[in-house]
């Protein structure tokens, strides 16, 4: 490309830095607030540099139940983690199995099952949220981790990703395994799953973030505070009615809620981008 215009380069960097500032600014302010006392936050304006209460705020959030929510942030982190891992691992497992069946076996009603699973691509869970709620209620899964996880696994994206990937694996590889004496079970465990590990990892990143960031579904089915996820807990801390919001704790919790998925994205950036562009497109 042609790079002989200094002013254009200057403009380029300026715009990028401005964009980053817009993205970073709210998080930075939140972080600052999480290191200050409520009084200092409400000082109008709150100073824009970190305060002294970082350790105190985070310990208070992690350890004790706050005034508005009867459960510690630690417990909520655990719930979010269970939900995110459950969705990621559960979906990857059932998708790998189903994709394997679709690509490597012939069986009656294969096309019927294929279409059945395919249709789920069309409707995100938000659309059928209330009837799903009733189903989960009938199954007695309200306020359970299983109830948080299972309905969000009913989607075909991962199945299609794996099916697509399996179809690119040369047939001869499977035949070589057969000549070597590997049956369907060993071929799956010894060859197919290890070969899919990049796709599995990419998908894990995407699904972990998806699961961690779920809001509407846990909002509906968790009435027992013991099953609150981070996001629900934060919302409850904000709903104090006439009382004063404990901003310092809310902000500390918000930072804690952001850290795991952000860590995953930054640490596994390449896998994440690959996972995203491949599952969606």
């Amino acid at each position: 490309m042609i790079h002989n215009r200094p002013w254009l380069s200057f403009l380029t960097h300026s715009i990028l830095i401005l964009g980053i500032l817009i993205l970073v600014f709210p998080i930075y302010v939140t972080f600052v607030a999480s290191t200050r006392s409520v009084d200092s936050i409400l000082a109008s304006p709150m100073p824009l540099w970190p305060g002294m209460e970082l350790v105190k705020n985070y310990l208070a959030a992690l350890a004790g139940p706050s005034k508005s929510v009867g459960v510690s942030v630690g417990q909520m982190m655990l719930n979010s983690l269970i939900m995110a891992l459950g969705i990621a691992l559960g979906k990857i497992t059932i998708s790998l199995m189903a994709a394997y069946a679709f690509v490597y076996f012939n069986f009656r009603f294969r096309n019927l099952f294929f279409w059945m699973i395919f249709v789920t691509l069309m409707l995100p869970v938000e659309v059928r949220i209330l009837p799903t709620y009733e189903v989960v209620a009938k199954l007695g899964m309200l306020n359970t981790h299983v109830g948080l996880i299972l309905p969000l696994i009913a989607s075909a994206t991962a199945t299609f990703l794996f099916r697509q990937f399996f179809m690119t694996i040369p047939n001869e590889l499977c035949e070589a395994a057969r000549v070597d004496g590997a049956g369907p079970y060993r071929f799956f465990i010894d060859i197919l799953v290890p070969m899919s590990r990049t796709s599995i990892a990419a998908l894990f990143v995407i699904l972990f973030i998806y699961g961690w960031n779920q809001y509407l579904w846990p909002l509906l089915i968790t009435t027992d505070e013991g099953y609150y996820t981070m996001l629900i807990g934060i919302k409850r801390m904000l709903d104090v009615g006439e009382g004063q919001i404990e901003w310092n704790l809310v902000m500390a919790s918000t930072i804690l809620a952001i850290i795991p998925p952000v860590f995953v994205v930054v640490y596994m950036q390449n896998l994440f981008v690959k996972g995203l562009t491949e599952t969606e497109k």
Partner: protein, 294 residues
């Protein structure tokens, strides 16, 4: 579905392999979806004891209900605003990031990570900044003698939910635009540069047209996003108010069904939402070569 290679002859195993996914799909997809269709033509009495078949009455009620029609308009305005404002910013950033030779990877990382922030958290962040008692931005607006109170002012409430929703989506669009830009062969750009086109002209005549598949894909994805995933933003910032100003469809379904317990109407609203999504998905399948080939 194309006929694929079939290697293993096993009568039972394939059924065992698909069983988990099929069962979960049946229980948590087809059952609720059919339930929604079924309930959308029923009217339940307030105690939930009896229900009667009312045909399309629920739908007629919905489409003659001012609040619903208002919600439809609000959703339309909201999703168009979110989609375009977010996409324009992302495109600008992606084109710039694609230009830099030095520091590109750092810029990229810094622009990508907000994808990990939940929509609801995005709502909380901006709710805090614009909060009338604690918010920094609200404070500076007051200093500039601009009266900010999104709890009362409908326009400001709408602006805030659009802003927070679009902010959260910038990273996502950026990733796809950047991927789209990377797939444009450099020789095309060089050829037009040799032809003497200025950088801006190059963008409009070469880059932008070649990005159109990406753009189209992103329009659909962003519209779907702003229809559904933005629930968290609205729920955290405005709760649909003030005066129904940010009462988008998905929020109304939740509100009527969970808080209002009007099952029939909520189910009918779900059915309408489903139709909208299916319509969008079909458009997407039509115009974009998807990963599913038949």
């Amino acid at each position: 579905m194309i006929q694929q290679r079939v290697v293993f002859n096993n009568k039972v195993l394939p059924y065992l392999l698909i069983a988990p996914q099929v069962i979960i799909t049946l229980v948590f997809f087809f059952w609720p979806a059919s339930q929604a269709l079924y309930q959308s033509v029923l009217q339940e009495d307030p105690f939930g004891l009896a229900s009667t078949f009312v045909g399309l009455d629920n739908f007629i009620d919905i489409f003659t209900d001012e609040i619903y029609l208002n919600s439809l308009l609000t959703t339309g305005f909201f999703s168009i605003s979110v989609t375009f404002s977010s996409m324009i910013v992302s495109l600008l950033l992606a084109v710039m990031a694609n230009r830099v030779l030095w520091g590109g990877a750092i810029y990229k990382t810094l622009l990508i990570w907000p994808y990990a922030v939940a929509t609801m958290i995005a709502g909380v962040l901006w709710f805090f900044l614009f909060n009338s008692t604690a918010g920094i931005i609200a404070y500076f607006l007051r200093v500039m003698e601009y009266d900010w109170n999104h709890a009362l002012n409908t326009g400001q409430a709408m602006f805030l939910v659009i802003f927070a929703s679009a902010w959260r989506q910038i990273s996502y669009n950026f990733i796809f635009f950047l991927a789209g830009l990377h797939s444009i062969p450099p020789s095309l750009i060089e050829a037009s540069a040799i032809d003497g086109a200025s950088p801006f002209k190059r963008f409009w005549t070469i880059v932008f047209p070649l990005l159109s598949p990406t753009s189209f894909f992103l329009i659909v994805v962003n519209v779907v996003y702003s229809f559904f995933e933005t629930f968290g933003v609205v729920h955290a910032i405005t709760g649909g108010g003030p005066d129904y100003a940010t009462n988008i469809l998905v929020f109304k379904v939740y509100h009527d069904g969970v808080l209002g317990l009007d099952i029939g109407s909520s189910a009918a609203q779900s059915v309408i939402l489903m139709s909208i999504v299916i319509f969008l998905t079909v458009i997407q399948f039509r115009y974009i070569e998807r990963k599913v080939h038949y």
